[in-house]
């Protein structure tokens, strides 16, 4: 196969993948707690045609070699965990994390998933659940008699009931953190799950042990920087065009060859 064609083809592939990542980032510009993805480009293996430094005779060495690169690939797609802006919503069960950490969510199969999306609500039993109805872990139930709910910076959830001036604590929100947050696997629905690369979760009380603090009545917005994404998009488009030009040029060379060798 013609290496010149295939090297350019890998470039097209990689730029196409980058465009999908940019499009997904831009599509999620309003998604609460969304973290932008960033593709990691890596050059592919080189074909060593002539080893540099090999003996050309017993006494002399080749001063240059010939290694042909075989193109590029997107090796990884890493999330950027920079803090998003905090948006005031006034919602009673809306929470944002300032700093590190994730809310723990119990999935229907009993496993835990993690999220930065703090837009919680109550189900018909008074349990605190996500927009998709999955309960927060450790579970918190707001009594039906509650007049108001207060969530402290350290995750203490307290309620006041009718006829009582004293607030009662009904639960404690805990956050999880990971040594390698980039290793978490996104599963959609604003959720991430633990992977072999992320390490085990380290659970703790908000505002302690380096975990972030909670703010009630606010949400963390997506951290997608639209300007960066648009600039990346322009760059991606031009790189795509160049690779496409490289393919057509190589094609013309081969065409010239076949047309003139009759």
């Amino acid at each position: 196969m013609n290496l010149a064609l295939w090297a350019a083809k890998t470039g097209l592939d990689a730029q196409n993948t980058q465009m999908s990542v940019i499009a997904n980032n831009l599509a999620n510009v309003n998604t609460t707690g969304f973290k932008a993805d960033r593709p990691t480009f890596q050059d592919l293996m080189y074909q060593n045609v002539q080893q540099v430094g090999a003996q050309s005779t017993q006494n002399t060495q080749y001063s240059t070699g010939l290694s042909l690169g075989t193109g590029v690939r997107i090796a990884a797609n890493e999330k950027n965990y920079l803090q998003g802006s905090i948006l005031q919503t006034g919602g009673n069960l809306d929470m944002s994390i300032t700093g590190q950490g994730f809310f723990q969510i119990t999935m229907p199969d009993g496993t835990l998933a993690y999220t930065r999306d703090g837009s919680f609500s109550m189900d018909n039993q008074g349990n605190v659940v996500t927009a998709s109805g999955n309960p927060l872990s450790p579970a918190i139930t707001i009594p039906i008699t509650a007049q108001s709910v207060t969530i402290g910076a350290d995750g203490t959830v307290s309620v006041t009931t009718a006829g009582s001036s004293k607030a009662t604590t009904v639960g404690q929100i805990q956050l999880a953190n990971f040594i390698n947050v980039e290793g978490l696997q996104p599963t959609g629905n604003n959720l991430l799950v633990e992977s072999a690369a992320s390490g085990a979760p380290q659970v703790g009380t908000p505002n302690t042990n380096g975990l972030g603090s909670l703010t009630q009545g606010s949400l963390e917005t997506s951290n997608v920087n639209t300007v960066t994404e648009l600039v990346n998009m322009i760059q991606c488009q031009r790189a795509y065009e160049m690779n496409s030009k490289a393919i057509s040029t190589t094609d013309q060379m081969l065409q010239f060859l076949t047309q003139n060798m009759q």
Partner: protein, 246 residues
């Protein structure tokens, strides 16, 4: 048979290889820290009976273009870019020291600092390990400091220092994995003058305009070679025809 045909054939073949190198550069226009490969042709006279009138062309990498790329600000604390000359020491798949300019780092589940391509970053004494931390900061001289998990920002402590080297670029070769190694295979000593910028990545140094012009030039050169194969062929045909008519 005129051996001129083979001279033109090797020319065409080598130009196609040069085009592959050029296309590989274009494919890596977005790869952080990528250094463009350059091509040089050398002439290889063919000695044999008679005069060495035929000279074949042989393509070779004249090496790598080590000019710096553009700094792209990313604001990620674990992204580092080498300012000016120098390289970041990493451990290749063979366990030996190799060098790269691609400073997109992350911490794996066991606390080892790795490049985005999975090679562990080296310090003077081995791999760079960080404990579970609230924040990891990389200083201009490669010093890695962390605020350990559970402690306040005042507890910032230095954990290690990334090995930065500045070997003469003439002594470096690009391996099949894209990392640089010294030709002699020896480790390069730490250079105190290499400086990093954190929160930034260095772009590929492929000059897209130049690569496109090279591409056109190589295409035309290729066509010259094919033309001369064609002409040699025609010469042969003409002389055959003369023989027949004579």
């Amino acid at each position: 048979m005129d051996r001129g045909l083979y001279v033109a054939m090797t020319g065409a073949k080598q130009i196609m290889q040069a085009q592959a190198i050029n296309n590989n550069n274009i494919a890596n226009v977005s790869t952080p820290g990528f250094r463009a490969d350059t091509v040089a042709f050398s002439s290889e006279p063919i000695y044999g009976p008679g005069y060495p009138t035929r000279v074949n062309a042989v393509a070779g990498n004249s090496g790598t273009d080590f000019t710096s790329g553009v700094m792209l600000s990313t604001n990620q604390p674990l992204d580092i870019a080498v300012n000016g000359k120098g390289f970041i020491a990493v451990q290749g798949a063979d366990g030996k020291e190799a060098y790269t300019r691609a400073g997109q780092l992350n911490v794996d589940d066991s606390g080892v600092v790795k490049t985005a391509t999975g090679f562990p970053v080296l310090s003077e004494s081995g791999q760079v390990n960080v404990p579970p931390a609230t924040s990891v900061t990389i200083g201009a001289d490669g010093t890695v400091s962390v605020v350990p998990l559970g402690l306040s920002a005042a507890a910032q402590s230095q954990v290690d220092r990334i090995k930065l080297v500045n070997p003469p670029t003439a002594s470096l070769v690009k391996g099949n994995d894209g990392l640089f190694r010294t030709v002699s295979g020896t480790k390069s000593p730490t250079d105190e003058n290499v400086r990093l910028s954190s929160g930034a990545l260095e772009s590929s140094n492929v000059n897209s305009a130049q690569s496109l012009v090279n591409m056109i030039q190589l295409q035309r050169l290729y066509e010259f070679q094919i033309k001369s194969i064609n002409s040699t062929d025609q010469n042969e045909q003409n002389s055959e025809r003369m023989m027949v008519s004579g």
